[in-house]
Symmetry: C2
Subunit: 362 residues, 2 copies
């Protein structure tokens, strides 16, 4: 593979719908939710056969730099980028972009969220490699997740004309990005066969994305240039912090992709899931004969209970009697109980804790 292909892993999320395991100190991407490796480690493992660690960059909050180093010990120190604070995906990607440009002006960067699950790693790498080829023509390429249900929690990408076929994979121009649709719209999207979920995976030449940022997000671009200019100076961190104070909060989708000129989508069907809440996580794990998924080092005892997810901490016994379709997450200091259909509302708990000043549980 091209030695100009770099991976940028965005590890700045909060994952509040996976509270109480996901906390400020150890958000979702640093947890072993699906297996023995953390989501970040799985993300690195997945891309490494295509892009070795010396060309993998990780962007995370300052509070989590130590965690990233611990979880990815082979990551070169200069590949760790810390953000002073969360400003959305556009500033995060822009920061990685200007850094990469200084390092390798011909760089192509592939952007991956650190907290998604992809079952078919081989298919994933094949798609990224193909997308990188298309990116050489200046396209901003996104992987389009083939939808299997009319999900209303994701953004959708409508494909346009066929642009190319690379290693057997068709690539389309993007007709349109759509924000999260209502149920009827989502149904019609699914029926048309022309729509894909936006999984937040992008492949582009660094020069291409920065050119579009200069055009579409000039304020952000200006701040990024000033930060880049001070990257090797002693006051780099101050400069970055000051710039980040001024940078407007923007997502890459809204700020760039929806308005950019040359945007392409490469459809994939690779067992993608954003593991958005406890219920979707539970659905990804194998249950017992009663449909119960039991995780954690603690014991659990379920009587007359079905279709439930139980996480039990070491040393504690969790007992369910007559429970159907619930999520129970029992950590050392906090416990969550909710029916599976309320899993999205768990973020409200986190807001409630903030409101009530219960910082110790955040």
């Amino acid at each position: 593979m091209s030695e100009d292909l770099y991976a940028v892993i965005m590890a700045g999320g909060v994952g509040s719908r996976l509270w109480p395991r996901s906390r400020l100190a150890t958000p979702k991407q640093f947890l072993d939710l699906l297996g023995s490796r953390t989501m970040l480690q799985e993300t690195v493992d997945r891309i490494e056969p295509l892009i070795p660690l010396d060309r993998v960059l990780v962007v995370a909050g300052e509070d989590h730099a130590e965690t990233v180093r611990f979880q990815v010990p082979g990551l070169p120190p200069e590949n760790m980028i810390t953000e002073p604070g969360p400003r959305g995906t556009a500033p995060c990607i822009g920061l990685a972009g200007v850094m990469l440009q200084q390092r390798d002006s011909a760089a192509t960067m592939a952007v991956f969220p650190a907290d998604h699950r992809i079952a078919d790693a081989t298919g994933f790498r094949k798609a990224v490699a193909a997308a990188a080829k298309v990116a050489q023509d200046g396209y901003l390429v996104t992987l389009g997740i083939t939808p299997d249900q009319p999900h209303t929690g994701y953004g959708y990408i409508q494909r346009g004309a066929l642009l190319a076929e690379v290693q057997g994979l068709p690539v389309y121009r993007v007709q349109r990005f759509t924000e999260k649709p209502d149920a009827a719209t989502a149904e019609s999207f699914l029926g048309s066969g022309e729509y894909y979920w936006n999984g937040g995976i992008f492949i582009w030449r660094v020069s291409a994305i920065l050119d579009e940022m200069a055009r579409l997000l000039p304020q952000l671009y200006g701040e990024l240039q000033s930060v880049a200019g001070a990257w090797d100076a002693p006051d780099r961190e101050e400069k970055l912090a000051a710039a980040w104070e001024r940078v407007p909060r923007t997502t890459i989708d809204y700020g760039v992709m929806e308005k950019a000129a040359r945007v392409a989508v490469l459809p994939v069907d690779i067992g993608w899931d954003d593991v958005g809440n406890w219920t979707s996580l539970s659905g990804l794990l194998e249950g017992d004969a009663a449909g119960n998924v039991l995780r954690g080092k603690g014991r659990s005892l379920l009587l007359d209970s079905v279709d439930s997810y139980v996480y039990s901490s070491a040393g504690r016994l969790v007992t369910l009697v007559g429970v159907e379709g619930f999520v129970v997450v029992d950590t050392e200091d906090a416990l969550l109980i909710c029916p599976k259909e309320y899993a999205q509302a768990v973020r409200e708990v986190v807001k409630g804790l903030e409101t009530e000043g219960l910082q110790e549980y955040l």
Copy 2:
């Protein structure tokens, strides 16, 4: 009140349906389930204005003698009776009976379970005093709880002819004791107006109950006499333990009351509840506007949740989202979650723990 009136408080229960708070080491009667005092303490408090502590006897298992002394510090040491093991209410009552007979052959004894709730303590004492008068004629008197629902979990007592009226309270002969009925039978009992719940509260002369035991439970009576003969001897504990090995397991209802000659019932309406499980306990406590009852020293946070009971231990946060009609009991090492309608099945958890050898949670 008569100086020959004694209280015998039976504190030998297990309370497995109130697991995980009720444990082998501290069963239900030693817990502060309803307020700041334990069930045992409330039982003592309730009777004390009528029967002072020097005439209150407590029967408990050997493992709990220390707990009784701690919770009822004014109890004279000689009023503490320890059973080598549980053998049902008949041996327990018989043991207290032979002890009392040695102490005061003219004694009248009033028997109370240590783990029931009675809201109207004044009405309760008035009824006990009236029953004690009737008992002077040799009757075995039971308080009959006026039923307010066709409960299928209690035994029922059918009244017969009016026997007396004491201090304005009618007392009837007992027509019949009935085991736990099915729903249709319970409905007909309630409709007839002739039936009362058997709350396990009895008042009788010691000589009367022992005479009936001699007649109806001769083996038990014989063992009790041998134990009584050795009460002041150095080998008393050995004798008692050996006798208890031979004593058959019998309840006072089945062993004596259902077959005895002179049995009376004094109807009461005193806010009685046996606090049989978490759901009935919850119904006795005042909830918030959403019908949630929150107890324990730990914090809890309920979102979109109604009609639930939450017990939270110190230092742990319990969070419910979208939960309706549940019981959540979170102790230091074990957690119970069940819909209120499954509360009776909690005893199956305890059986399951025994089966799986999880002694530490019993």
